[in-house]
Symmetry: C2
Subunit: 189 residues, 2 copies
């Protein structure tokens, strides 16, 4: 069984990684390792800098993950700073910013980076389009899930079970794309 350590303090993320990767015989553990997160325009830049930081210290077999909610009518806000904005303004602050705005389109993006034991890097990004609801709904998931309604659905992410959310979510898609690359790199099938 392959073992990879996810750098996160977010138990929700760890659950989502485990739920997707266990079926591929990859065990995901958590680790106290950390890396510097830079201020940047895209989550990919944040992830690539973290990988550079970790790689420079010889850390391997780790996964990092950065994700963000990008709201079109707010110029992409809160974007790369989503977790900070969630901690300070919360879902209510974002709803307030959208009061009276017709365009509520948004997308969640997730970028996963990994340093293999060999030192080789994998970086993948996936997104899910949707819209911001007019009120918080549901109590599953985490972060801005209670206000994000993915396209072709009427429910927020927080109204979905992990089994319903993962097949369509930015993180679910990114984890599967990551697993595919990992299998190819390792010649596993």
């Amino acid at each position: 069984m392959t073992k990879l350590a996810l750098i996160t303090s977010n138990q929700g993320k760890l659950r989502e990684f485990r739920s997707e990767l266990s079926r591929l015989d990859i065990e995901v553990t958590s680790t106290d390792e950390s890396c510097e997160e830079i201020q940047a325009d895209t989550i990919e830049e944040v992830v690539r800098y973290c990988l550079k930081d970790l790689g420079g210290r010889g850390v391997g077999n780790v996964i990092i993950d950065d994700s963000g909610l990008f709201i079109d009518s707010l110029g992409g806000f809160p974007g790369v700073y989503s977790s900070y904005v969630f901690r300070t303004l919360g879902c209510k602050g974002v709803l307030k910013l959208l009061e009276g705005k017709e365009d509520r389109s948004a997308h969640f993006s997730c970028c996963i980076g990994c340093i293999l034991g060999s030192g080789e890097n994998i970086v993948v990004t996936e997104s899910v389009s949707g819209r911001i609801g007019t009120e918080e709904k549901g109590n599953q998931g985490f972060g801005f899930d209670p206000i994000f309604i993915p396209q072709e659905d009427q429910r927020t992410f927080a109204e979905m079970s992990i089994e319903e959310k993962n097949p369509i979510s930015h993180r679910g898609k990114a984890i599967r794309a990551f697993a595919e690359m990992l299998k190819r790199k390792r010649g596993v099938r």
Copy 2:
């Protein structure tokens, strides 16, 4: 005459540094040099990391500056991410977030970091307390100046000339504290 290069693309900042430091016989130039800005809870952490990054590359005689607007009733938002929030939400977004809130207290903080030619570092932070107005006023300064009213005043920073703002502003205070330290370190009087 001492020469220090300020790392900034903000002409408003450059003007404020020049206005304060020219009287101390310090010439402030601008430079294309850059450093990584990390995501952190305080502007000091951002500045210290930049200095480490620059120092590691042997860059000297440079000044960096990070500042932020911290609004009490918003958990310190936009804080370290003020320039990003200004670009995306602007003053209007912040005013919207404060609609209906009684507590409008806030402070601006400015942290200045410098690597001397000797490799020695100087780091100083200064703040100014005040409140967020109910509308944008004035067209001087930059960033959130049109909505910030310093304590003991009725005008926003954007309604003040640079000569009125510098004596009380976070950046003016930080630049003067920095100049004092610089003089002491260099034995200049």
